[in-house]
């Protein structure tokens, strides 16, 4: 048990570091876009650029929050134990599996990337909307299962 918690501590620390690094990379990309390569972005459709900016901001904010919460959890022994229990809880794992995690997240990510790469604006919008709907359905299923399970 103590070994598992120590392992979880290491995992949480590396998770926090990875989130912080990714967040900094996104911020660096934003700075790069705004000041250095702003003229070469003319070929990208405005809606794609807007979508990327919005998505990037949300992801950067989420990563920053996840990183902060990881490091705060590491400092508090009770919070660490609760986080460990939540991570290894069989009911939570069952709910996650039934709501399609993590496959839904992976396929949605692939659909969004495909949507950004495809040239046709209609196909691009369709792929992004389908990915968003897929994620929404997964969240709704998770909420319903949380209530009934």
């Amino acid at each position: 048990m103590q070994n598992s918690i120590e392992k979880f501590k290491k995992e949480l620390r590396s998770r926090g570091i990875i989130c912080a690094v990714l967040c900094l990379l996104i911020i660096a990309a934003f700075i790069l876009k705004a000041f250095i390569i702003k003229d070469s972005l003319g070929e990208i459709a405005p809606f794609k650029l807007g979508f990327l900016t919005g998505l990037g901001s949300v992801i950067a904010l989420s990563l920053a929050l996840m990183s902060i919460s990881s490091f705060r959890t590491l400092k508090n022994e009770k919070k660490l134990r609760l986080a460990f229990n939540a991570e290894n809880d069989e009911r939570c794992a069952a709910i996650r599996a039934k709501s399609g995690n993590p496959i839904i997240i992976y396929t949605s990510e692939l659909m969004i990337i495909a949507g950004l790469l495809v040239k046709s604006p209609d196909a691009s919008k369709a792929l992004i909307i389908a990915a968003a709907c897929q994620l929404l359905v997964s969240v709704v299923i998770k909420c319903v299962l949380n209530k009934i399970m």
Binding site: L82, N85, A86, D89, E90, R91, C92, M149
Partner: protein, 67 residues
């Protein structure tokens, strides 16, 4: 599935969170097991029973599975 967890917990003056910590699960899972919404796995049922110093049959009502 009916269980005696709530009664046993009250007898031991234990909160759901304390029991959850003792058996390495979440408070929500304990609530779901107590209300019969979720059936605990064998390892979790064993941990809960062990926490009260009883056998699984004494904590969980398994009569509905009797043929």
């Amino acid at each position: 599935m009916k269980t005696k967890i709530k009664e046993l917990r009250k007898l031991k003056k234990m909160s759901q969170e304390e029991l959850a910590l003792a058996v390495s699960t979440t408070r929500q899972t304990i609530t779901s097991i107590e209300t019969g919404k979720y059936i605990a796995s064998l390892p979790l049922a064993y941990k809960i029973a062990k926490c009260f110093g009883l056998s699984i049959e004494e904590v969980f009502d398994l009569s509905e599975y009797d043929e």
